[in-house]
Structure formats: C-alpha cells, structure tokens
Amino acid sequence: MGNEIVNLLSLFSPVTFLYLCMGTFLGIVVGALPGLTATMAVSILISLTYGLSAANAIVVLIAVYLGGIYGGSRSAILLNVPGTPSSAATAIDGFPLTLKGEGGRAGVVVTTFSALGGLFGLVILAVATPLIARFALKFGYWEYFWLAMMGVLISASITTGDAPNYKGIIAGFIGMLISCIGIDPIHGYPRMIFGYSQMMGGINLVPAMIGLFGMAEAFDAIKNPKSHEVMELKKKESLPAMIGASFKMLVKYPRAAIQAGLIGTFIGALPGVGPDIASWVAYGTAKRGSKHPEEYGKGSYEGIIASETANNAATSGVFIPLLTLGIPGCAVSAIILGGMQMHGFRPGPTFFFENPSFVYFIAGTLLLVNIVMWLQGVVLTSVIAKILKAPMGIIMPLVVVLCVVGSYTISLRKFDVVVMLIFGLFGMVMRKLKIPGAPMALGIILGSMADLSFRRGMIAGRFSIGSFFARPLSLVLIGILAFALLLPVVNKIRDRNRARNQNR
C-alpha cells in the first residue's frame, strides 16, 4: 500500500464510479435522517473501506461526506428537522416553503445550489489553493474567538424573526454555557458536572441538536397536528420545469449565490471551522444584502440558496488546507485525512507538489460527486415528495425512533438519549416562549471554540486582553460583528423616527 498509483484515470474505472454513486447515495440518506450525521457515517465507513483499494476508499469517504452535508437539507425543508448541523439555517426558510406547497421545488433548488456551491468551491480550490491556505493560517487564537462570537451572534440576530433580538442572544449564550459542561481541555478541571461522571465528556452536540429540533418538532406535531399539514401543491410542476426554475434562480439571486460560495469556501478552509458555521454566516450576509429581507424566515428562496450553497462550498474548501498543508478543515476531513494515511498517502506541504496526480484525483472526485449528487438529488425529489404524502401519524413516530436511535449510536450511551429527551422538552418550552433554537445549537457548537480560543489567546498573549483588539484581522472581525449587531437596532430606530415623522 502507498505505492498504489492513484490519479485521474482511477476515476474512470467502472467499479470506482459505482462506489462513487453508492457513496453519494448513502451520504444523502444518512444526511437526511435526523441524528445520523456525515461525521458518524464517515467514521464508521473508514474501517469498512480499509479493504478497498486506496482510490475506491477515498472516493467512498468523500462521496459520503459531500452527500451527507447536502442530504441534511432534505429533512430540514420537509420536516423542519435539520438532518445535519450544517443545514439548520436551511430549515428556517425551507420549511415555510413546504407549508406553502413548494417543498418539491425547494428541494430541487437546494440540490442545484448545493452542487453549484460544491463546484464553485472546487474552482477556487483549483485556482487559489496555496494563497487561501496561507491566508487561513493568519487566523490565530484571537481571531478564532471573534469568529466564534460572530457565528453565535449572527445566528442570534437573524433567527429571531419578529420577536425581539435579545431572545436569540439569550439562546445563543445558553448554548455556549452548555458547551462548557465537562472536563475543560485546558486545565483538565471538571465544570458543571454536578457529580455525574457521565457528564465528564460534556454534552454531545448531536443528541442536543436532535432533541432541540427533531424531538421538539415531534412534540409540536402531537400538540398541534394541523401545524404540519402540508398544503396541496398549488400547481403540479413537472421535474424539468422545477429544474429550469432552479437555474433561473441563479439569474435572479446571483449575488447571494456568489457571496455564499465565497464565504463557504473560505470558512471551510479555516482549520477546525467547517460547513456548520459557513451556512450561518452566508445566510446572515445574504439577508443583510437582500432586497427583500422581510421574506426571510417566511420562505425565501434566497435564504435556502445562501445556506446550502455555502455549506457545500465549504466541503470543497476543507480540502484546501488538507491538500496543501495536511491540516483538516473540520471533523469529517480529519477522518478522511486518517483514511488517506491508512492507505499510505500523507498530505503535507511537500505532498501537494510531489503528488500532483493525487491532487487531480481529489479534484476529479469532488467534481464527479457534485454532479452525481445533483442527478441523484433531483431524481430523489419526486420520491421524497411521495413520502411526504404519508400522514404525520406515521412520519412523526418514525422521527421519534430516529431521534432515539441516532442519539444512542453516537457513543452507545443511554445518557445521550436522556440528553436528547431533555433538550426536546427544552425545545418545546423555547418554542412556546418564541426563543429560536438555532442560536442555541450554534452556541453549543461554537461555545467551546470561543471559550478555548479566548483562554489560549490569553495564555499565549501573556495574560493581556489587548491582543484581542490589537491584531488587524481581529479588528476586521470586530467591525463585521459590530455592524451585524448594530444594523438592526439602527434600522429600527430609523423606522420609528420615520413613522413618527409621518404621523405628524
């Protein structure tokens, strides 16, 4: 092993192509099922692919990863349950579209833009890889702290809808607090575990998220069965018509799509960040730049385009530092890196120049997977639309089963199932109080990044807080953050003044 020649030609073998198709399909299914994430699927598969040839193994891992990130959008749109953390932003506008009877069309739109996002990222990967990888390394502890704060606060300020802004911020901060539970990685001191050894490892994101979104959704459906009644399709649209419509969106929202592609690729390229945040930042940016921000949260195509373009662009982005420096961009790519190493490929600074054929192979795989994903996604749309016709009395119990199974399989602990149930109840109460769940999920994802980056930055900066404000990149991030937070307030004041002037 290791001496096996892997290059673009490997992709032309029918067996490899078959693996690619199967991997993509598997990824979509796993991604679409709430509780089963791309991370989990890839880490299980890594052992199973060990016996395959290097080319086939790597193709399967990449296909499942890309398919999984895309697949999450399906359940987000159709059930309001994001299948993977990275599609949480998609649910905000995707589900209202389903309620309006446009679920099928929305499905085709996200499929097209997921694939376009991936391809956009691939183009950037092809032309600017060394440049971006270098730039991403300029982000130190201090910038990571601001980036994490940005992620939480942006999602807080855009998900609250009509409710006051502070509710989202409350949810975000509760999430960050939850992320601090467990043995702290800096001093090894247990925090907020209240004597339960099970809590030492902290609250796992996946059970918390499936509780917050999946279980809470099921509770909602029990409480108010009418809330999930999908409106009859207004007009029956044929598949080619929907595909045509999805490409027309590209002409209609070019700015949102290109912005999301750029944001997604770059955030994907930042080591340790990945698609989850990319979709939020892109969604927030799109909303701010939109001509119709009032449509966001009520079924805006621009919104789902932004988040889905970005999270799949990020899947291409993570390969930038992976291939040039051997640094994984997110949890899944760390596993894929492990898979490459097991087959004797050791990406690193010299690898990129010494093995151009392997790099072409990865690029070719990304290209093919995105295309296959698009084809499969479009075909699946009609099938999934049929499933949706099943009564909620059947779908929701299935969601509950998946929630339980999904949270258990993460680490085979009953504790995680309990966590999931608690978060489910929590989610129900939050819905009642009109507190959005998404900032809380993002708080749990990014809380530890904020906490650890802050403390590492303090230690490395010799305990001076000044370094958080002194670095040029930090200042840029602070500027963006302040702008994002203050803009809604300024707008509100302006609107109020205007209303007052008109009354006079």
Partner: protein, 339 residues
C-alpha cells in the same frame, strides 16, 4: 389461512433453533458475538490509526467482526470507564494510549494501568520540539539558552499530556524555566500553533509534525527518539540524548499506543486476544505503516506490555507530581516510585 399458520410455525421453529444454536455456541468458544473496539480519541489520531490498522487482521484471526467505535472525551477517561463498565468477557476492547498513566493522577478517572490487562503495546510516538522556521531559536542549544532566562510559551496537546511531560522532563533535567503551557487540544494542533506563530515553540508527537517538518513549515529542534533522523533535504534532527547525554536514559520518551481489556477477563479468552493482537501488529505492513508514519514500533506483548505500562505510569505520575502539575501524591493511588 392454513398457509399463514404454517409460515408462523416455520418462523417459530427457526427462531427457537437459532436460540439453541446461540446457546450451544456460547458454551463452545470465544468469541461468540462481534467484538467492539473502543478508541478513546477522535478518528484520525495516532491511537485511532494504530487501532484500525490492527483491526482487520485481528478480525481474521478471531473469526468475528470487530467494530471500531470512537468515544473521545475526558482525556480518554470516558472510553476507559465505558469499557470497564461492560461485561468482562473479552468482547469489548480498548485502544489504550499513554493517557492511562495520567488520568488518575490528574483526577479525571479512578482507573490506572493496574486495572487493565494489556494485549500489547504496538508503538511509541516520541515527542519532538518544533519552532517556526523564522524563529530566532535555531537549535536545541538556543532553546536551552533562552529558557534559562525567559518564560516562553509552548503549545502542547492537553494539560499534563505526554508532550507536556516531555517539556517538563527537559526543563527539570536541564534546570530551565518551565514555559507557559498552551493546551491546544491535540498534538497536531499544537504543531499548527507553532506554525501560526501563536506560541514560541510546540511539543508534539514526531509523527504528528513530520510532514510539516519535511515541508519546511516547521523546524524540528530535537526529538525524544533513540537515533537521529535525517530528513530528505539532508537536515539531521538530533535526539535529545545525543545533545544532552543526561537525557539519554529517558529515551524514547513521549506517548505510546496499545490495546487492553479490563482485568478479570478469563485467562483463555485473554490468551486468544493476545495472540490475535500479537500476530496483527507483527504483520509486515503494520510495521511498515509505523515506519512510514514515524511511529516507533515496539511490539510489546501481554505481560511485557503490562510491566511497561506500570513503569510508564510510575515515571509519568511522579514526574507530574514533582513538577507541580497535580497536587495528588501518586502514592495515595498506590503508584510506587521507581528509582
């Protein structure tokens, strides 16, 4: 209707037979069902890679599938506790890294190496000290000179981790100022921290930084292996012992990765598992993998590995206690000091 009854009867018969067959098999031999291999770290690290590399051959020898499951958290305490809580029948294995020598003394777990029967210890991951290529510190002697007077910052994986101990031992033996440690979450991320100039230097596993060193992104000052290594560009990475002979006795120093089951697993089952691990890690492609990845193949098996783990626990626990990383006296945990 009759057909349905018949079908039901057939299914019933099959199920009953199945149950009996299961019972009969249980009496026969280990393993009776698929095994689970718990990796107490995230996928992609040294522990994970070495476990997964051994798994296929072990599967073949034992004749049952082995599912690898990652269960990270609490510096391996979570995975350790999980495997300890399962039936002690040999069906749940734990990929056991060096951290078992430190989690008890760091208060993260009550378990020590005495609670485990090692199938073996496959490989060691010697520690390396790295700096950014632009750093004023060019050699290990430079580092010593600077550390005599200045408190530097040093990225490591976690509080009290193997790489922290490597710096601790170094500073202690050569009478240097301990640096300010910045736990980065992994050896790999520690290396990247040095690369981003977030810290003055970093300590990590040699294997974790080798590609970055070869690529000129990092400069290796010295490493805790036994023989100096010549890089493809001709630069030689010295061992600590080759520069400071006083440090020679500690080499190799760093982390190691083995495989263990809880004590109390029946002797015949343990023997089978040890044999499977023994064969698996002595496969030529396993040894080649270690070499390619800059892991130091150790190949310690069974009781040999137990003794090594015990020694390692004693050395590490007292080192950390003496350096003030922990207030817990190892003696209170039944760990004896080795001279």
């Amino acid at each position: 209707m009759k057909k349905r009854v018949l079908l039901a009867l057939i299914i019933l018969a099959c199920v009953t037979l199945g149950v009996f067959a299961q019972g009969a098999a249980e009496a026969k031999a280990f393993p009776v069902r698929p095994l689970v291999m718990i990796v107490p770290f995230n996928p992609g690290g040294a522990t994970d890679l070495l476990a997964r590399k051994a798994q296929p051959k072990m599967e073949e020898i034992l004749g049952k599938p082995i599912a690898v499951q990652n269960m990270a958290g609490g510096a391996t305490a979570i995975g350790n506790q999980y495997v300890m809580d399962q039936a002690h029948d040999g069906h749940t294995l734990l990929a056991q890294p060096t951290d078992i020598t430190s989690i008890a003394i760091m208060g993260q777990s009550k378990l020590t190496s005495d609670d485990w029967a090692f199938l073996g210890i496959a490989a060691a991951v010697p520690s390396v000290f790295v700096v950014h290529p632009d750093s004023k510190i060019k050699t290990i002697q430079d580092l010593v000179a600077v550390m005599k007077t200045t408190k530097l910052t040093a990225a490591v994986a976690a509080s009290g981790c193997a790489w922290t101990r490597a710096i601790g031992l170094f500073a202690d033996q050569l009478k240097l100022t301990l640096p300010q440690f910045v736990p980065s979450g992994g050896g790999y991320t520690a290396a990247v921290s040095a690369m981003k100039k977030e810290v003055d230097f970093a300590a990590c596993g040699f294997a974790e930084a080798i590609e970055l060193i070869k690529g000129g992104e990092l400069r290796a000052l010295a490493y805790w292996g036994v023989e100096p290594v010549t890089l493809p560009n001709g630069t030689v990475v010295p061992t600590f012992g080759s520069v400071y002979p006083a440090l020679k006795t500690f080499e190799p120093f760093g982390g190691w990765v083995g495989m263990a089951v809880p004590k109390g697993v029946p002797a015949d089952v343990l023997a089978k598992l040890i044999n499977a691990y023994d064969v698996a890690i002595h496969q030529p492609d396993f040894i080649e993998f270690c070499k390619q990845s800059s892991f130091m193949f150790m190949g310690k098996i069974g009781a040999d590995a137990d003794a090594f783990a015990k020694l390692s626990t004693s050395v590490n626990a007292y080192l950390m206690y003496d350096l003030g990383f922990t207030p817990t006296d190892p003696a209170t945990l039944g760990i004896q000091r080795v001279k």
